[in-house]
Symmetry: C2
Subunit: 723 residues, 2 copies
Amino acid sequence: MDFSSFLTSLGTSFVIFLVLMFLFTWLSRKPGNSVVYYPNRILKGMDPCEGNSMTRNPFAWIREALSSSEEDVINMSGVDAAVYFVFVSTALGILVLAGLVLLPLLLPVAITDHSVKSDNTTSNGTFSDLDKLSMGHVEKKSPRLWAFLIATYWVSFAAYYLLWKAYKHVSDLRAAALMSPEVRDEQFAILVRDIPPPAEGQTRKEQVDSYFRAIYPDTFYRSMVVTNNKEVNKIWKELEGYRKKLARAEAIYEESKKSGKPEGTKPTSKIGFLGLFGKKVDSIEYYNEKINELVPKLDAEQKVTLREKQQASALVFFTSRVTAAAAAQSLHATMVDTWTVMDAPEPRQLIWNNLPKKFFERQIRQCVVYVFVALTIFFYMIPISFISAITTLSQLRKLLPFLKPIVDQNAIKTVLEAFLPQLALIIFLALLPKFLLFLSKAEGIPSESHAVRAASGKYFYFTVLNVFIGVTVGGTLFSTLKDIEKDPNSIVTLLATTLPANATFFLTYVALKFFVGYGLELSRIVPLIIYHLKRKYLCKTEAELKEAWSPGDLGYATRVPGDMLIITIVLCYSVIAPIIIPFGVLYFGIGWLVIRNQVLKVYVPSYESNGRMWPHMHTRIIAALMIYQVTMIGYFAVKEFYFTPILIPLPILSLIFAFVCSKKFYHFFQATALEVACRELKETPNMEIVFRSFVPPSLSAEKSDDDQFEDAKSQVSRATSFV
Amino acid sequence: MDFSSFLTSLGTSFVIFLVLMFLFTWLSRKPGNSVVYYPNRILKGMDPCEGNSMTRNPFAWIREALSSSEEDVINMSGVDAAVYFVFVSTALGILVLAGLVLLPLLLPVAITDHSVKSDNTTSNGTFSDLDKLSMGHVEKKSPRLWAFLIATYWVSFAAYYLLWKAYKHVSDLRAAALMSPEVRDEQFAILVRDIPPPAEGQTRKEQVDSYFRAIYPDTFYRSMVVTNNKEVNKIWKELEGYRKKLARAEAIYEESKKSGKPEGTKPTSKIGFLGLFGKKVDSIEYYNEKINELVPKLDAEQKVTLREKQQASALVFFTSRVTAAAAAQSLHATMVDTWTVMDAPEPRQLIWNNLPKKFFERQIRQCVVYVFVALTIFFYMIPISFISAITTLSQLRKLLPFLKPIVDQNAIKTVLEAFLPQLALIIFLALLPKFLLFLSKAEGIPSESHAVRAASGKYFYFTVLNVFIGVTVGGTLFSTLKDIEKDPNSIVTLLATTLPANATFFLTYVALKFFVGYGLELSRIVPLIIYHLKRKYLCKTEAELKEAWSPGDLGYATRVPGDMLIITIVLCYSVIAPIIIPFGVLYFGIGWLVIRNQVLKVYVPSYESNGRMWPHMHTRIIAALMIYQVTMIGYFAVKEFYFTPILIPLPILSLIFAFVCSKKFYHFFQATALEVACRELKETPNMEIVFRSFVPPSLSAEKSDDDQFEDAKSQVSRATSFV
């Protein structure tokens, strides 16, 4: 790739971005599309056209994003979204600070060194014009390297400073959210797991109640024993399905009245496999019949579940925030693997199935999952080549003989042969986040947000190891594996020598990512098309329509690792090829604007973890910083610079910084500080509502039949003191 | 050393033991010695001659020790002593179980193998008769090694089984102690450290009170701000010193009245340096004068200290055990390095000076101490050789020229030259425990018992690394250091090859240790002589006499590492030379009896940590077990046994066992489980007494002048609910 083709690629991406942006301006002004472009506002009951977002000015959304405050973000999308912006602005800040010093300092130093005949421009599409701007252009042992050494320190200290400020800020955000005077249900509950078997003749409920009433005589309110809801959930889902179908059938019937005959056509459906075979029946009648059949069945199953399917886990409710917060942090039993407690997650993010999992079962599951993920990361080529092997044409012909006539045509054959392996790779990579989320849930994690964090961490290591180090070191890694085994330090040298050659690849990668990626994000072309298709051909009822435009959440599990990869790449190249810094700045700058817009208007958070994502991000930024520092040590060593050891304190400093931060801030992200929990509430909480909010929908009785809960849930305690 | 000389040494030790035991029987029957042999009983106000300990039967004490129950031990010396017995009996149990199988299984297998011409009996005093009983006698690659392999597994599983039972038992002991219905002062208090600077115009006391009253409105009782007591302690010590001297002078005066002239001789003393120079004054008058001078000074200094020397640390008292236990485990501040809390230690074991040390200061101190200890362990020869270099005669002559005439005499010269380095080594080793305790306290640990545990852990690593591995591998280690650097695994092989050669050395060591060591322990010859000397020549008052026979505590800091060393040695040799097992059994068996006697009658515990020592012992027994397992793998490899890899799961199993134990039991040894703290108390605690018990003696006002505490301590809260 020469310089002009690089510029072409850059230009194309930019044009795509502009086109998508104007598309966005045009499409978002159409009122019919407002459910795609302003769903968050609509769901919050606000006017979608609030502000001047409907003007013809294509940059109005930018002005709006810039003028929005952190408070707006918290109000619209919660603390987690605000923390994501802290993360993006911290990354942006580090790169801006780095760029301000590195660009004017290093570019002239590199470009004016004429002593090198650019002898390492041969490989992987590096081209001479850009190469002159990089550290590779500086002669070995040259005193000019001092400038690069100082730059390495500058970037690190800029990162420490901004990370420290950010951690403090996020800590304050979290404190403010937790001490809010609003009643938040989960702040009055704790999750108890690993309850030992109850004594003879005692029910689970009695056991839990007597245990906690003895310890908290004044503030214990009630307990809710976790039940095995598999059966009841199945019936409930079936029932809900029939209700939806009934609503749909009724809507079709209404429509047919209007359009066709005045008496209308009763819709019919077949009751066999997939609605394609079997007897034809009147849909409305059939569904009503089914519903009438299922309602008593659900009722009966609910009773059975509450009475007989109690598990060794419970939610315990307190009338005081402070007691709940302290109880969640205290050891309750002398055998540490029984009566384990933790903060109750929000009701909506409880992973109900994981609650009754036993202590050591969770430990073993975690170990197994870690081993599995490590194997996936290190040998991810193996499943891919396995899939590729299956998906070769000859294999396919054998396995699915009916494809033969199609596959044997020459044109199709060529295309398939070229794309099948890539297709397999793409599908595998697209499935990976879901797979990692599945694995994280299999660990026995009790809350959705925690599972997302766990999956995000796994994905980060996957991308850094495979995309970054994989692409950089590439094939050479395996051929030199023997050298590495002999001398593990050689991987640093290897990384250092191959890094500069790949600068252009990553430059293009970053540019593509922000122009096209954020363009698509902003314009929401894909959801728009899907919505309109669904509206036209599938959706008949209001509920179905609402489902069609429901925007989902920000998707931290894949978004954060993606950003992390960019940070890692830009940091690692920041000193070697400072020209990458403006691209990084653009990535996070445009990202900030686009996501700000999306968070305020589009995405609806599916949970609130009060910023627990931050320590996770913080640690990984430091990990990226350390990769950068170690790489730089290696690269300076390759340049045979005598003063390279001056850089050795840097990774140690990073470790100390990480240690100090974790000691100073981290514990508050695991537990609620009591000084925060003891703040006054606006009103004394209605404990009944708090309690009800945790009842899963499949168990909440239709006809508010309170008594049936008393089988599994405890009596209201006599205490009435509120904090 | 041949077999007969080994037997001679064994016999001599045994005779010494018998002599000391009869000496004990004879001496302990004299009523004048009862304060040396029964101080614990006397201090508890019991009859020293209770039971039949005064009979002529020399084995009466054994019967008494055997018939005593664990409850007796707890009543007489607390839970810590009982836990020490659990440790000793677990060690004993492991060795007995090992011996029962290994002796009848392995000895015949080894002795009937005639194929080896005992080719490794040359070195370090190994002798052929014992060698025939060891694994070294078995041919390489012989199928007879299977027996040894099975034995290795047997010992490990016996250890796991007994350790598991012991941990459970100790956990129960701790729970029983913590849930006792007696009011224990420290259960109502927490220790708060790292209090941030108070707001402008607010005193520390107000700050602490308002902070905790907001969080615990119902159960907060009062707080005691930690003060800088250096000055007040100095005055108090001076005052106490003069009081003692006054009492002594009065006693001398009384005595002189009886013995000499009826009007008596007033004792005089010189007031100059060390009482040797200066003006002669009437002692009684002088001391009275001094006391009268110091009392108002102390009063004034107490007021100043309480008002102006308040530090960033406090003890906070609650009216409820549960609240105190939960508060000690909960995060209080959003900045984790402020308002750090922990269980309050007993008042008597508070290390007052360490309380105000800052969070990160403690971290840094800990790091520095660890580095220091590691250096001491690995390079302990350096200070010794340094001392030796200084203490050579020529050096001494130079440094202390006045010694010349003595040193130059030939006989003295020879003796000194021979003994000076050894003397230096002995002094260094004797000072080491004190030095390690000093280092542990320098870490900023707030309680005596914790410091003892920390010192004990350090001493364990010192003895195992230096005595055991040092003696075994000896000089060869340094010559083969290069091999080790190339291949770190070779240290295992090295250890394995040199172990059998040193079997006899350790056999003799263990025998010496139990016969002579426990003989001296039981007979208490040294404390007896010191007591009688003091009584005759120094002590004049009752208080001085009491001090002279005060027995001290069990001395866990050195005793436990000593026992650990024996366990490590015996375990490591158990399969290689099973003949060591009976010696180990004797060590722990006699140890159990002797220490049981001492604990019931002699030693007075100086603190009670409710068995917190156990996890520490447990971990180190497992460490010893792993050294044994790894050594065995190495030794089997040296024997070129094909099935050696069968042993590889063993150390992994040990790790898993340690992990499971720590997950199941350990947390309860760090914190008080709430189900334990919520037990009913016998009586509602008198909070004023609880509070007073924590006031250091130098600050407790003589004339119960309550008001002055109000400066630094808070008002009694209005709450009166007790648990």
